[in-house]
Symmetry: C3
Subunit: 160 residues, 3 copies
């Protein structure tokens, strides 16, 4: 691991704008030959959930949480100006207008360049989310020890 420079990104946020920033960084780093690991935790798990299907969880409270907090890259709100979806739709229009790739295209690019996606098992357990809720590109399911082992070797470590 020490012979190749590394970057780790903790994606804590489930907001579209922060996810766009995270994948821009990931793609930039991968194209410079860096090893990139993205750790999705808490609301950030929404970024790597499937757009389709519903999440089966046990218990009324978990079902309510997962219904409100549905996730999937198509559903992420902006952290500002979401305005019941109007602002977020506008931002996606602006991106299209200047031929800037949408989040899902950035995710496909990052995956194609070897960026690793790790889902946080601690958050999954807390929220009652099973492995099959996530897109197949997720490379592994792990906790804080896996993150720290990589971060201590990394040149750049960010919490987003």
């Amino acid at each position: 691991m020490a012979d190749k420079e590394g970057i780790t990104l903790i994606v804590f946020s489930g907001d579209l704008d922060k996810a766009l920033a995270a994948f821009n960084l990931a793609i930039g780093a991968a194209s410079m030959g860096m090893k990139v690991s993205m750790f999705f935790t808490f609301w950030g798990l929404n970024v790597i959930k499937k757009n389709e299907g519903s999440i089966k969880s046990k218990g009324l409270m978990r079902r309510m949480l997962n219904a409100m907090n549905r996730g999937g890259p198509k559903r992420l709100p902006l952290s500002k100006f979401h305005m019941m979806g109007v602002g977020t739709r506008m931002m996606k229009g602006l991106m299209k207008d200047v031929n800037f790739p949408q989040l899902e295209e950035l995710m496909a690019m990052a995956n194609g360049m070897g960026v690793k996606y790790i889902a946080c098992t601690t958050s999954m357990g807390m929220m009652g989310i099973e492995k099959d809720a996530f897109i197949p590109e997720v490379d592994s399911f792990a906790g804080v020890a896996t993150y720290l082992a990589q971060a201590r070797e990394g040149q750049v470590n960010l919490f987003i």
Copy 2:
């Protein structure tokens, strides 16, 4: 300091979810033998305030701010779905349900493992918060120079 690897965490946020993430990282790092320093600043000061008692500050505006921004680990809201406390109470219930420790238990564990808590004196001065507003586990009161001296030696530095 150079012979032991270090991690520093700036806890800027006063949200429960981000505080949980910060203490999970801190406990994970401490259990791997790393030196961990947590710098609480701005809204993050709320995490290390006492649950009991009231904050005495000078001037009407500071008293108003500290009444609204009461703090203490029991009172922190979620950054999403707080819903006047209903969502936050639900999340605490979900955590209990899977035997995940509450924030105050994580804080006791981190403290027992030698994690250092530093309160930012600049934010304290701005907001009119005195030392006796904080839990006794706080190790020191310091500013940005102390943070930077540790961060430049650290392997992992995050802003939460």
Copy 3:
């Protein structure tokens, strides 16, 4: 670059409280002899916009976005307790009260100490913001590759 220690700050947020934290860190690091680079991206571009004048953009949607998202250091809201400007004005009053410099004074100090301001060209393109919308202290306009080249050499890298 390797002979002088460096710190990089990504300023993603356009909130006053986070901008204050970023400039406190920048000034602290510069006064310790570190090379400091601040990368302003997404909402963070608001921090380095001019207070005066209006932003000319093409297309109705971009004009609407830039009208809502006006920016300039005088206009930044707090991330909490903004309350239609009342809370933010109160916080500025508290800062004045303890002789704590306002954001614009911190920015002037940082600039005088050699802190570099870089505006993210990707965000500018997406939002339709031209170079002349920014304060003259901005040193350069660049993308993720420039950030990563500096961050991989830096001792401290934070995402704010």
